[in-house]
Each structure stands twice: as C-alpha cells, then as structure tokens.
C-alpha cells in the first residue's frame, strides 16, 4: 500500500507537471502571436501517426541509455555530467573500429557495441580515478572531459579516422560500416502487426534498450553491487562503516555508467548513420540528465520520460512547416523538468511525513501492549 502510494504520487505529480508545462508554453505561444490550440492540435495530429510514433521511439532510445548512465551515478550521489563526452568519443571510435574490421553479422555488431562501451567506460572511469586518487570532484572532471572529448574527437576524425572523400564531398566522416555491422530495423515486426511506419526505420536498438532497462532494475535492486551503490548514496559514513570501500564504488560506478553512456550513440550509428559524421546528433548526454530527473532514476519512469521527450521532439517538427517556432519544445521540456523537480520535492516531504505518521499510528497499539 505504501509502495502504491509512492507510485500514485509520482504519476500524478508528473502528470500535473506536464499539464502545467503545456499551459506555460501555451501562454508563450499566445504571446508570440501563435494560436496555442492550433499548434498543440497539429502536434498531436502529426504525433500520433505511426511513422511519428516510430520516430519518437527512435529518438527515445538514445535518451534512455543516456538517462540510465546518469541515474546510475545519481543513485550513489555521483553526478556524471560527462555522458555527453563519453558517448561522442565512444561512438566515433566504435564507428572507426566497425568500419575497419570484418566479422560475420552478429559478431560485427557486438564488436562495435563492446568497443563503444569500453571507450565510454574508460573515459568515465578516468573521472572516477581522478576523484578517488586526486580528489577532483566528478562534476568538474566530467565537464572538462566533455571538452576534451569534443576536441579530441574532432582531431581524431580530421586527422586519422576520416575517409578520403571523393572530390566535391566536403563532409568529414569515418568510412561506412559494412552491412554485417548494422542492426536491422524492426519494421518487419511492425508490419506483422499491421502497422506501416512509412519511411521511418524503427531502430533495432529499441530491443536492447528494453533489455538494458530490465538489467538496470536488477542491478540496482537485486544485486549486492546495487545495494552497496544505494547505501553509498544514502549515507557515505554508514556505507564505509559497513565495509563498503568508497573509492572502489566510485570507480566501479563511473566505469559502468560510462559503459552505458557508450551505448547512447549506438542506436543512430547502427540503425541509421552507419558512420560517424560531423552532423551526428549531439546533446543526447545532457538531455539524458533531464530524463533521469524526470524519471526519478527509475527504469520505468525514465522510459516514460525518454518517450515523452522523444515524442515532443518529433511532434514539434510539424510546427516548422506551419511557421510556428519549434523551439517551443525546449521551453516545454525545460518547464516540465522544473515543475517535476519541484513537485517531487514537495511530494517527497509529504510521503516521508505520511510514513512517519503511519508508523506512529500502527505502533500505538493500545491493543497490543496493554489497555
């Protein structure tokens, strides 16, 4: 019953936050001379098309991995702000490796994914190492490493990893990954159930995202590592006293978080781009922080958050065509996030008080002790 109450509170407060954000955005739309009802109507109409929904899922998958990478750190009070850098350097190197090696089908894909995870883990683990051995706060080091990753990525791409372009092709990119290193789309599955996503290819990585979400839940809630992680987050002093080595936990958590971050770019790489180019999507790491907050670090909550952000992202595409600034989506996302964070803080206080009252209540057993 208690768990249910938490769930109800979480769902209701998130729902209210979204409604509030829609209202705020409506006001902004109205002030800027657009009809909010018309804009929302068009977003909705466009957004519920099958191809839009498939595209929303495609956009959600990277955000989901990104959010999990961030949430893992949050669980022990570590702020991995470096998912951005981690996934970008990971996807670049994985793309280069994937194009350079020749392996049969599934192994090729696996090699690319493992490479990305290893690079992400190393990049993030370095920040963990700096924290433990040199006392550098992970917020500082991961932010700095984002710049390093961007700069180093550009350097590697421009000098060593780019393909020789034919004359006239000015886009700097890695060589294309051959067919064996690509993930098939899930459109076949959609067709079986009678849906036609049109020109959108539903990413195969969506399956891995679901598996990873489940794995995240098991890791956090059912393994000793997960317990030690949450204990360290809840009370560093108590965790240490219990024999949990804080340094080991920091490094391990950053390594695993980085490995998950390495997966962020895989959906786009294996399902669409098949190479790293300078127009590969950015900001997925930062948006993941927002999704983790929105989903309260919970695998289902984050999935909902990622899908919501993915859907807004897709649905607002239509606004451009109608001459309405689609930047409204950033305002929408920002306001949702702010109101959700505030709502959660308020709700948490209430839940805690309710828990205390429930216990005090259940414990005054004039019944049990004496009359």
């Amino acid at each position: 019953m208690r768990a249910n109450r938490r769930l109800v509170y979480a769902v209701v407060s998130s729902g209210l936050a979204i409604v509030f954000a829609l209202l705020v955005s409506a006001v902004i739309l109205a002030v800027s001379g657009n009809n909010p009802f018309e804009a929302y109507g068009q977003m909705f109409e466009y957004g519920v098309r099958v191809d839009s929904l498939a595209s929303a899922v495609n956009r959600a998958v990277p955000l989901y991995f990104s959010a999990m990478a961030v949430a893992l750190g949050f669980k022990m009070g570590l702020f991995n702000i470096g998912v951005e850098g981690q996934y970008r350097i990971a996807v670049l190197i994985a793309a280069a490796v994937g194009a350079a090696i020749a392996l049969p089908g599934p192994l090729h894909v696996l090699a690319i994914i493992l490479t990305a995870m290893a690079v992400g883990a190393a990049w993030s683990g370095f920040a963990g190492y700096l924290k433990v051995k040199r006392g550098v706060h992970e917020v500082i080091s991961t932010i700095m490493l984002n710049y390093v990753a961007t700069g180093m990525g550009a350097f590697l791409l421009a000098n060593w990893l780019r393909q020789e372009n034919p004359p006239g092709d000015l886009v700097i990119k890695t060589p294309e990954i051959p067919e064996s290193g690509r993930l098939p789309s899930l459109n076949q599955v959609l067709e079986w159930v009678g849906l036609d996503p049109g020109r959108v290819n539903l990413y195969g990585m969506a399956v891995l995202a679901v598996v990873a979400g489940f794995g995240f839940h098991v890791l956090i809630n059912h393994t000793r590592f997960g317990f030690e992680l949450r204990a360290s987050g809840a009370s560093a002093g108590a965790a240490r006293t219990a024999g949990i080595d804080p340094g080991r936990m920091v490094v391990l958590t950053m390594v695993i978080s980085g490995a998950i971050a390495g997966l962020v770019g895989m959906a786009h790489l294996l399902g669409f781009f098949h190479r790293y180019t300078i127009d590969f999507p950015t900001m997925l790491g930062f948006t993941g922080i927002a999704v983790a907050l929105l989903g309260r670090n919970h695998p289902v909550g984050m999935a909902a958050g990622a899908l919501l952000f993915g859907w807004f992202d897709r649905a607002t595409q239509i606004l451009d065509l109608r001459g309405i600034p689609k930047e409204i989506v950033f305002i929408l996302q920002g306001v949702i996030l702010l109101s959700v964070v505030v709502a959660y803080a308020v709700v948490e206080v209430r839940i805690r008080a309710a828990e205390s009252r429930a216990v005090t209540g259940a414990l005054r057993p004039g019944a049990e002790e004496e009359s």
Binding site: R2, N221, H222, T223, R224, F225, G226, F227, E228, R230, A231, A234, S235, G237, A238, A239, R240, T241, A242, G243, I244, D245, R352, E355, S356, R357, A358, V359, T360, G361, A362, L363, R364, P365, G366, A367, E369, E370
Partner: protein, 501 residues
C-alpha cells in the same frame, strides 16, 4: 505559582490507534518539569503538539492561562516556546555566533548587527560560556548543545523543551548542563525536560509527569519518590533485577591490539597512542572515558576504518592490521557504531536493508552477487521479534521509527549475526529501561557463549555492571585498568577526568 503551560485532555488519533489519550500536563512558571516515559509512550507526539508541529484532535493548550490554537512551530516560537531537539540542527561550517542568529538576525538597515548579536549571546549564555567565533565543528557535544539552547533563547523563548538532552552527554557534561538549567530557572525560564534517565530526572526536576502508552499515569514529586518506583510507574511492571553473574572470561585471546596509535590529520600529534589491549573469549572489556578522548579512533582502528600508524591488531593470533573492514566483518567482528545516524543507518531505506548493511557479503542477506530478499527479510523479522523493535513491518523506512527502536535494530542485527567479537559503542544510548535490560541480557547471553565485547559507554552504571575488565582512556592513552567489582561511578569519573592517577 501560576501555570506556564497547561495541556488539558490532549488526544491525538492516528488511523485505528490513539497516540495521546486525554493527556493532562501542568507546568508551573519557572520550574523544571520532567516528562518521563518509555520509547514510544507518546512523549514525542505530545511535545510535537506542544511545539505546534502537529495539531491535536481534542484538548486544549493553555499558555499562561490563555487557550491557544497553534498550528506551526512559528506560532510556538511567537508564544515563547522553544525546543532543543535530540539531534542537533547546526551548520558545522559556521561559527557559534552565525549559528545562533541564523534565521533571526538582528539587523541594522540591510546589514546584520553582529555586535548586538554578540552582546545578546553573552547575556543569554553567561560570560565565557561560549566562544562566539569558534567553528561549530570544533565543539564538543556538550558545547553544541549549549549552542542549541542559546539559539532558542536568542529567539526569545521563555519556555524551553529539551528532548532527551542528556542522551548524548557524558557525566561531566550532564553536570554542566544541569548547572546551566538551574541558572535558567533562576532567570524565570520554564523548562520541560524529556527523559527516561530517572536518576537525572530526580536530580534536576521540580516535578514529574509520567506517561505510559499514551496516557498520563501519574505526577510525582521528585523528593518523595525513588528511582525504582518511578521506573515501575513508567514501565507499568516489575523491573529486571540488578545483575548477579559468574565470570565467563577464558584465557583465549580473541582480539588484541599491540601498541596501536594513530596520528591526527596533519600528522603532528598522536590522537591515540600506544594502546594495547586484549579481549578474551567470554569477556566484556569496558572502556571508560569522556567522549572525544580517542574512543572513536580506537574502534576505527580495530575495525579497519582508519589505518594504524603504529602497532598491530590481531584476531585470534592472526595479524589483521592491513585487513579491510569488510574482511574483518566476515572474520567475525561486529560493530555497533557510536553515531547512529552518521554511521549506522540508511534513513530512507527499509528496515531489512538496514539490517543487511555490514552483512551484505554474507548469508542470509546475499547469495553470491544477488541479494536474497526472502532471507534478508526473514532475518530482519527475527531481529524485530527478538529485540522488540516496534514497527509495523520490515518494509518500513527506518527514519519513521523512534531513535530507541532504530538502536534496537542496530544492536539486534549484530547479535543475531553471532560475531566472535563485538565492538559496541553506546549500545543502549537513547533506549528506555526495559529495552536496555533486554540489550544487556542479550550481551550477557552471547558472552556466556563466548562472545568477546569491547564496550564503550557514557553510562557508568552500564560500564560497571557489564564489564569484566574496565580500562580508562584519557587523551588517547589507556591510563588505568580497574576492577569493575570494586570501583564506584564516582571513582571512575575521577579517573576519566584525570583527577586521580
């Protein structure tokens, strides 16, 4: 004398049960009035009502004869009521002065009038009682408490509620607290003193109200009632008798420290120095000392939480000086930490996860890398049953339990893990007489089975009553070994302060 506070028929119901059942309380102006009762008797609920934190369902609160309807702590503060909580709410990184005025800064235009604040603090707490510019983190527990009291008085409180103020203090500090409480009484401050330490209550209080199971069961005059009668009123039953026991000490050494020491952070002095001790199978080794004389560091070294800069630690003859805390726990060293909130509990986690903490590498809590939810919960239920942890269940978040019940869980989980050696710091701190006796009993029973215990306590009766050997720690060194059968609390006190050597 007129009444400062009168509570009439205060009733507070929670779904299905009654936390306060028609409680009456009359506190005269300028007296020290003790409210005593077991953990969970309803004292805290009552004080929260009085402090405006929760509204009563029925009954009336009269302050100086006037009925009031307080609905928040702010109302209470305005009515001149101030509360000093058991757990200090101080900003460690700020000075005493800043802490006292925080939220009630005297202003001069836009600036804070520090000079006025400084004068008022001296006025309130007396000349030289507090150094206004010292950082709070440098203060002893007793001094921090004085800051808390000063904070409340600074806000103009004339009625002071002290929630178990002596629970965290050593005997000398208790005396100092009592001196300042009497001074406050001289100045006309009314004090409500919540406690379950009956000796102290009899010493300081002018009148006593006993609460049991949510009801006022008696008011008593401290000059005419004995500790024993008071305790029986409080518990509602006959008390466990004083211990008579046989020595179970063997000559088999379990845990041994050889000349261990540890340097301060800047490595310029020894925090503890050259400490050697042996805990035998079946022995309780008591360490007496004023808090802050190296007890914590000693436990930390034995537990592997702090490196030994000199000497070595042996468990069953094996050198474990470099062994990790986890390995030591697995090897059979249990720990009841002194700082329950800082080092013992995960407050927002359920009971069963708190029971698992420290034993996360062992059955029944985990199997390999997986948490055994069933085994862990079952073990926790055993702790709850055997140690009378009052909780609706093991899924409850532990912050919702009272301090005494949290402590019972901490003790119980260690005892049920059947360690070889138990390092117990203040094992009965904050728990009531009934539960205290149960904890002592379980320690004695385990000792008869061969458990070796290092007992650190501020409760001298507990130390003398439980220990087979007593050692005194002073300024980081063991300065005396005493026979608990011979020594009196007064003598022990003088060893602890270095008065007799």
């Amino acid at each position: 004398m007129s009444l400062a506070i009168e509570l009439v028929g205060i009733t507070k119901r929670y779904p299905g049960v009654i936390a306060n059942d028609r409680i009456n309380l009359a506190v005269r102006e300028g007296e020290i009035h003790a409210v005593v009762g077991e953990n969970g008797a309803g004292k805290s609920t009552l004080m929260k009502i009085l402090y405006g934190m929760i509204p009563p369902d029925e009954g009336e609160i009269r302050i100086r004869g006037e009925a009031t309807g307080m609905s928040s702590a702010r109302d209470a503060i305005e009515a001149g009521i101030g509360m000093v909580h058991q757990h200090f709410m101080l900003a460690e990184q700020m000075t005493v002065l800043e802490n006292v005025i925080l939220g009630a800064e005297p202003r001069q235009g836009l600036k804070i009038d520090f000079e006025q604040a400084r004068r008022r603090i001296v006025e309130i707490s007396g000349e030289g009682a507090l150094d206004a510019d010292q950082m709070v983190e440098e203060l002893s527990v007793g001094e921090k408490q004085r800051v808390e009291i000063a904070k409340v008085l600074f806000r103009g409180a004339q009625i002071l509620i002290l929630d178990e103020p002596t629970a965290v203090l050593v005997p000398q500090e208790v005396e100092e607290l009592f001196v300042s409480l009497r001074e406050l009484r001289e100045r006309g401050v009314t004090i409500i003193f919540i406690s379950h330490k009956l000796d102290e209550v009899l010493e300081i209080a002018d009148s006593i109200t006993v609460i049991r199971a949510g009801r006022t069961v008696a008011t008593a005059d401290p000059r005419r009632i004995s500790t024993r009668d008071l305790a029986e009123l409080m518990v509602g039953a006959e008390l466990p008798t004083a211990e008579t026991r046989l020595s179970t000490v063997t000559d088999q050494v379990l845990l041994q420290a050889e000349g261990v020491g540890t340097l301060s952070e800047d490595e310029d002095r020894w925090v503890i120095e050259d400490i050697s001790l042996r805990i035998h199978r079946g022995e309780v080794l008591g360490i007496a000392g004023v808090e802050g004389n190296g007890q914590r560091e000693l436990v930390d070294i034995l537990m592997g939480l702090r490196p030994a800069d000199s000497g070595r630690v042996l468990l069953g003859g094996e050198d474990i000086t470099g062994m990790s805390t986890l390995r030591r726990r697995e090897a059979g060293i249990g720990l009841i930490p002194a700082d329950r909130h800082g080092r013992g509990l995960l407050l927002v986690s359920p009971l069963w996860e708190n029971a698992m903490l420290g034993y996360q590498s062992q059955p029944p809590f985990t199997r390999g890398w997986l948490v055994d939810g069933v085994g862990a919960r079952r073990r926790t239920e055993d702790v709850v049953d055997q140690f009378d942890v009052r909780t609706p269940g093991v899924e409850v978040k532990i912050h919702a339990l009272s301090g005494g019940n949290q402590q019972k869980l901490l003790v119980g989980k260690e005892m049920l893990a059947t360690p070889q050696v138990l390092l117990a710091s203040h094992p009965t701190r904050g728990i009531d007489v009934g539960a205290q006796a149960a904890v002592w009993e379980s320690i004695r029973a385990a000792r008869a089975e061969g458990l070796g215990v290092l007992l650190i306590s501020a409760d001298l009766d507990e130390l003398i009553g439980l220990s087979d050997t007593l050692m005194v720690i002073l300024r980081g060194r063991l300065v005396a070994t005493l026979d608990p059968g011979q020594v009196t609390p007064a003598e022990l006190g003088s060893y602890m302060t270095g008065a007799s050597q």
